[in-house]
Amino acid sequence: MCTREILTLQFGHYTNYVGSHFWNIQELSFDYTGTVKTECNHDILYREGQSSSGEVTYTPRLLLADLKGSLKTLPATGGLEETNLEGDFSWEEVETIKEPEPDKNEFIKDINAGTSNLQDKEYKLEQDINTWTDYLYPRFHSRTVNIIKEYQHSSENESFDIFTSGSTLWKSDIGETFADNIRKYVEECDSLQGFQVNFDCTDGFSGLALGCIEHIGDEYSKTILSYPIIASHFSDNSPSTEEEREKSTLKDSFRLVNIALSIEALSQHVKLFVPLCTGEKGWRKPGNPRLFDYIDYKPECYYHSSALLASAMDSLGQKYRHKSNVYTMSDVCADMTGYGRKMAAASLGIPFTFSESQYLIEYLNSTTKLIYQSITPSCKIATDKLFQLITVRGIPETYLKAPMKEAKEQLNIPAYRCNSVKEMFELYFQANNFLSATNVTVCEKPLELKTPYPRFFSDRLNKYGFINSGPESEKVESCPVIAGLHNGNFMADMIEKLHRDVSRIKFSKLHKFGNEGLEYGDYKECLDRIAEFKDNYEDNFEL
């Protein structure tokens, strides 16, 4: 079997929150007993290597970037290698300046101590998490973590808050080191399928990520799939004084401009991109949280909201990470992006659930609600004229329909002729989405919800994430998930809204961008290109 590798790149703090969950999900699903039948080829995202002491390592094929001060307890070397202290400095006077060791939370202490019963213990992670390394389970290859020394994490003074600062940074030494690390990963791969680039599109990381994207576009003729991400909340979102209000307004403007610059550049340089946010609007503020039945999450808590996005990414990726090796990222991108429609929307249904005493056929037949929720900001996913790729995971075939002799009314439902979960979903989408093309991928395994995945589920769910019919309450250990990529005319609304909102900002308010080298003419052209990009979505098309 030939593995088609993927290199993942993560830029920015919130994106790294998402990343932590994503890699936790991967690593906690590894089966070391050899007894579980897995559908997913882990070698696509992971690489085997050797530590300097000769031990075999298995680490994510990953590069990430964050600012100085964001790592807390994780060494920049990734935490796999012991730092060998001895050096050859017979210098007469050496002064050691040691930073105090940061407090480790209970969970991190347990991982470091190699505790094996993580799953049985209750952690208060909501209170204990200040950064994404506070719940990170895996350890990284020494080239994975790239820290930007020029800016301090959460510093008011020298904040890394504009696209142009990131672009400038890409052209400095950091960009060169990063590019070289990319090359080293790519060199190892026999058959790379492409790059997945996730980044915070509201601050300086947007410019850094796009500098990088442009570079890999030039250097490697490989597919680039990108998720520009907007955090669920910003600390200045609820100002109380006039001064704070003004600051917050300006910051919202900066974020919006960064989003716009990102979208425009992505439309030039990647194959497919999918903006993600758990807030409804994304800009000028993230807005109300998207709601998921049976989940109670707090948008201010990155640890919560990022888990949702990570679950979506993991589910969406199943299609090109499958052992059967049928689809690649480039197939998926090609399917989604006809007519130059490089931007698509994503959806998530978590848990995709129904009563444990029900069958899938009954649920799909009776439900009136959408079975998924958009997780793309300012975007309402239409129900017709769609191209969509859907992944459903964790619904046992035994839940499909009642056996013939007990079927009763089910026999009257046309879907009763479906013989698999896949067929039934295909029929469901055929019936519900007019003039649309849907491709459904079904994975047997559910999403596993192992610690440190947030425990934000309703207690009405049973162990497998279905709705309890009895009174007993169980700890949820896994749940079914549905996730999708959708494209169609409907995306035009979102682009238009973005264009309208960003055009309202006076360029004179953006002197920080100007100082870093953004010219008015270029900015104006970029906005015009966003308007043009929208045109790709407006032509009528027929299937």
Binding site: T83, E95, P100, E219, V326
Partner: protein
């Protein structure tokens, strides 16, 4: 890293007078942190992060950036030091010290009621005079090995242990001389610095050729060949599976196979062309063939090449394409059509070296290499980085000397002489302006004073000795750090770069003046001070 919490960062609240006081205190603050760094007897700093990451440095600029600087004044000074580093690669600690000292000296007069504007005007005049003195102390050099060794050694001994400095000095000078083409500016990028983490070895060697940080990806390829043709190219030898599977549109298995076969054929043709050239040139001779490709090479292509005994490397660094052509000769090819012998380079020896999961390929014994590699071995990342930083500084010092075509005597000879000349000059100037000149002259002495203190001598005693000797003796007089006595730096081979001193004088006066005229700055807004 270690926070220097100097003062409240909210500059906008500090009123002008207070702001001046704030600036002076801040500048003194960083000066205190940095002064122990100066010179070959300065203190090495080992910075350990909370999570255990280590950075070892003695370089002022590196240190400033490793520390959390929250104060705008401090970050302005840090920017001056970065600018100094970008322009010359040296003199960053001196920059910070001199800015601090200029402010300290000015403070004395300002607290007696003198307007900051008068001081800054005096600084301007004094700076021009100091530049004249610097001009008069230039020692013209011919670009020869012996003339470059001293300046390099002086620079390196301020960064690493003397015994290591000796080794690095030779490696740096020889590498620059190897790649230099008479009459053309030196491109330091053509000296590749390659790090190798190795448990036991700490050594640095100059390789007259290239070391690549990857190796052949096929088990049957030779690990070592001699007498090798080198083909450098930027041609994909990798079958890129384009979209053959759609979730929406059905393609038959047969159609897919056809698509794949057509594209495979295309790649195979390219590989065949390379093989054909190899056969023509090498078969029946003792010559061998190496392909170094910037693009990918997939397992099937590797297989074909391996069968022919060809070593093939994929995904070479873009810059190495240029370096390879300079080291081995030949041309980096963008296509394998029309390949001829003239396109190829030559290396006497190509071999692979494996260290843990890392592979290296040495391309050595090149005939007239105009690109070379300094190979740095060390037991851990932070030692490697420390040595690499030092080598960079050494290379910059050599390049500065070549561009300047001159050197200036080191060991504070310039500062002592300039102080002397400025004091004389001051007496010819009328009015309060002379106070500014006096302050400037005084401030320059921070360099010899700090060098003395860092070597354990008394600052005042030293200054008196140096000033006396300098008045009596027409030659440049500096400080011998091993005795605390006055010496002629030229006798001991202690030199500095002319451009470094010049840049220090220019930038320090500007930044110090900006910080003194703080009320005017506040109006202009801090952001206009960038860069």
């Amino acid at each position: 890293m270690a926070a220097i919490s100097l003062l409240n960062p909210k500059a906008e609240f500090a009123r002008a007078a207070q702001a001046l006081a704030v600036n002076i205190t801040a500048a003194k603050g960083i000066q205190d942190v940095m002064k122990t760094n100066l010179g070959p007897k300065g203190t090495m700093k080992m910075l350990v992060s909370g999570a255990g990451d280590i950075k070892i440095t003695k370089d002022g600029n590196v240190l400033l950036h490793e520390m959390q600087i929250q104060h705008p004044t401090a970050s302005l000074i840090a920017r001056a030091s970065t600018a100094q580093d970008d322009a010359t690669g040296d003199g960053t600690t001196s920059t910070v010290l001199l800015i601090g000292e200029l402010l300290k000296q000015a403070d004395i007069y300002i607290s007696e009621g003198l307007h900051p504007r008068i001081i800054t005007e005096g600084f301007d005049v004094a700076r021009n005079k100091a530049l004249e003195v610097l001009e008069s102390m230039k020692i013209p050099i011919e670009i020869k090995r012996e003339n470059l060794i001293d300046i390099t050694r002086t620079a390196l001994k301020t960064k690493v242990h003397p015994s290591l400095a000796e080794v690095l000095t030779d490696a740096c000078v020889d590498s620059v001389l190897a790649i230099r083409v008479e009459g053309k500016p030196v491109d330091l990028h053509m000296v590749e610095l390659m790090e190798m983490q190795h448990k036991t070895a700490t050594e640095t060697t100059l390789i007259k050729g290239l070391v690549l940080d990857h190796g052949a990806r096929h088990p049957d390829m030779p690990k070592r060949v001699e007498n090798a043709y080198i083909l450098t190219c930027n041609v994909s030898l990798e079958y890129e599976k384009t979209e053959v599977n759609s979730g929406f549109f059905y393609k038959s298995a047969e159609d897919r196979e056809k698509l794949i076969a057509a594209e495979r054929e295309f790649i195979d043709q390219r590989v065949k062309k390379i093989v054909a050239l190899k056969k023509k040139l090498c078969d029946g001779t003792d010559k061998s063939f190496v392909v170094i490709n910037q693009k990918g090479i997939d397992p099937l292509s590797l297989d074909v090449l391996a069968k022919e005994g060809i070593i093939a490397l994929r995904r070479a660094k873009r810059r190495n394409m240029e370096r390879l052509a300079l080291a081995c000769g030949g041309i980096a090819m963008n296509s394998v059509d029309d390949l001829t012998e003239e396109c190829l380079g030559y290396a006497g020896l190509v071999y692979e070296h494996i260290l843990g999961e890392e592979k290296y390929t040495f391309v050595e014994d090149c005939k007239n290499p105009q690109s070379v590699t300094i190979l740095i071995k060390g037991p851990n990342k932070h030692t490697l980085t420390q040595i690499k930083d030092a080598v960079r500084d050494g290379l910059r010092a050599i390049n500065n000397a070549i561009e300047d075509k001159c050197l200036v005597p080191g060991a504070a000879a310039f500062e002592v002489k300039a102080n002397n000349e400025l004091l004389k000059f001051k007496d010819t100037v009328k009015g309060k302006l002379r106070l500014g000149i006096q302050a400037y002259a005084e401030a320059l002495l921070v360099i010899p004073k700090t060098l003395a203190v860092n070597s354990g001598y008394d600052a005042q005693d030293t200054i008196v000795k140096l000033q006396e000797e300098s008045r009596l003796n027409p030659d440049p007089i500096g400080l011998d750090l091993s005795t605390g006595e006055a010496i002629k730096p030229i006798d001991l081979g202690i030199y500095d770069n002319y451009i470094v001193k010049k840049q220090i004088l220019n930038s320090c006066s500007v930044i110090a003046s900006n910080l003194l005229l703080v009320d005017e700055i506040m109006r202009a807004g801090m952001s206009s001070l960038k860069g």
